[in-house]
Amino acid sequence: MSFLEFVEGPLWYVAAAVFLIGALWKVVGILRLGRKADLSIPRASATAGAVRSQFLHFVPHGGFPFRTIYHLTAGYMFHIGLFLVLLFGAPHVIFAQNNIYALPWVTMPYWGFVVAAQVAFAGLILLWVRRISDPVMIKISDKDDHIGSWLTFLVMLSGCMALQESVVALRATHMLLVDMWLIYFPFSRLMHAVTFMFSRGYTGAFFGRRGIVP
């Protein structure tokens, strides 16, 4: 078995299993913590507040937009670029069709892949720069934040380095980093990709019950 076959075969399945089971385990753990009984008189629906907050918090409101313009822009650049590359990049679609599902899927043209990757790179680097140069961010960032940022960056960088798909070693390096990223995911703040819905829901329900737009 070649190294590429190993990272795309057994290691990939192990990493995917750790990712899925780990993430599920973490979510179940968070839900099992429960919450204190809310004794306040309900003025509105907590459920409606929870649902509303899911969408409202995609954009800042009140006095926040200008203060958050930097990381709002950089955050959207990174996440939109990443999801476009991940979901519609031709190499990813082919890999998914071979290893996960065999449904037909739309792929981006090559130039679209490159532009999306550039937007994602710019966003990620801007977010990391903020982490190392904002006095508050410096203080609240720990190893986990930096490892998560760097691991994601390396996955993306190795992916773009393997873009020509002419060198097996580059594809293998990219896949190895993807496997590492999947294994690291449930044990890190990368879990925010899943938990953001719960935290928004909790906040939305709390304020929604009190008749406040969260």
């Binding site: 550039q118 710019a122 140069s133 006095p135 508050v136």
Partner: protein, 355 residues
């Protein structure tokens, strides 16, 4: 031996002799005829080998082709009339010779110079004590853009150096296959990150434009010994060296950006000579910037005590400001921009960013 046996033996001997003599005559015959053959192929005689017509010899014929001789074609694309583009060979010779050689020398001089200076002179320390009062120096936006450009510059610089010097430095160590993989990877990353760098650099140049005009006093700073003098000569927000670094980025960076676009989109030029020129300009400007950036990184991060604070925290100590950029610091103090503490400086910087 009977008489019949003797006869058979002599017959066989005779046959063998005939064969040997035949072969010998045949060989000598070819040898004897060779000069005659060569004589008939004499270019001066009007006939050359290889079906070439006229009185031009093969060597002259191919020499003129290799030197870019233009022939005739009946198709619209007249570039096709040139069988071998001589400028390609010229470019290859520069790419494989003087470019990496002198580029390596320049970067080497920069590295050795910095190392020697660091060992002999050490750090530029502050003469006075830190006051605790600080002066905001770079806004959040300025710092973010600076580090964004710096991150991309390092990535592009490393991948570019692998592409330019890999054949000479990495191939003997890693082998051709490994170098092929690394250089391929480097090129992909270089092409992908390059356009982001162009946008980021443009924003940075606009953002830092205001304070980087040469003005009265800049050259006095240099004539008085710059940072080598015992008492640091006064300067504005940026001294002559820093302003020159800015303009080097502006001109060399722009040249890198434009030539880089031509390299990524070769059809824009529609001429291979333009590509070759773009490559040479791209490489030379990049080498100059990399060599100069080593000095910038050394002085900014380690060589000058307290300098890095400006770009990481956004503020510098009042003493540092007065010692290194006296005229700027005095103006800031007059404007009441100097503040008592770091937290106030952060708030001031944030306020400046949001207005």
């Amino acid at each position: 031996m009977t008489s019949r046996g003797l006869t058979r033996f002599l017959q066989k001997l005779g046959c063998a002799g005939v064969i040997v003599l035949g072969v010998w005559f045949g060989m000598t015959g070819i040898a004897l005829n060779a000069p005659a053959f060569a004589q008939t192929q004499d270019p001066a005689a009007g006939s050359v080998p290889g079906d070439t017509k006229g009185s031009t010899s093969d060597s002259d014929f191919w020499r003129s082709i290799s030197q870019g001789e233009r022939g005739k074609v009946s198709i619209p694309d007249q570039k096709a009339a040139v069988m071998i583009n001589r400028s390609g060979e010229d470019w290859r010779l520069v790419r494989m010779g003087p470019l990496p050689l002198w580029g390596g020398v320049l970067i080497g001089i920069s590295l050795v110079g910095i190392l020697g200076f660091a060992l002999l002179h050490g750090k530029f320390k502050m003469h006075g004590q830190r006051t605790g009062r600080v002066i905001p120096r770079f806004s959040q936006a300025e710092r973010w853009v600076h580090w964004f450009v710096a991150s991309l510059f390092i990535l592009l610089g490393l991948t570019g150096l692998v592409i330019l010097f890999g054949r000479f430095l990495l191939k003997p160590v890693l082998g051709a296959d490994a170098l092929g993989a690394i250089a391929n990877a480097g090129l992909q990353a270089h092409n992908l990150l390059g356009p982001i760098f162009i946008v980021a650099m443009t924003i940075m140049l606009v953002m830092y434009f205001k304070d980087n005009f040469y003005q009265k006093g800049d050259f006095t700073w240099a004539f008085k010994g710059a940072f080598f003098s015992k008492n640091h000569p006064p300067s504005w927000k940026y001294n002559l060296g820093e302003k020159s670094w800015y303009w080097l980025i502006a001109f060399a960076g722009t040249a890198i950006a434009v030539s880089g676009v031509f390299l990524i989109f070769p059809t824009v030029l529609d001429d291979v000579r333009g590509m070759q020129l773009s490559h040479i300009v791209h490489a030379i400007c990049a080498i100059v910037l990399i060599a100069a950036s080593l000095g910038h990184i050394y002085l900014g991060v380690w060589g000058v005590e307290g300098a890095v604070d400006g770009m990481t925290l956004g503020y510098v100590d009042e003493t540092w400001g007065l010692e290194h950029h006296r005229w700027w610091a005095e103006e800031e103090i007059k404007k009441n921009h100097a503040v008592k503490s770091a937290s106030e400086a952060v708030l001031a910087a944030k306020k400046e960013t949001s207005t």
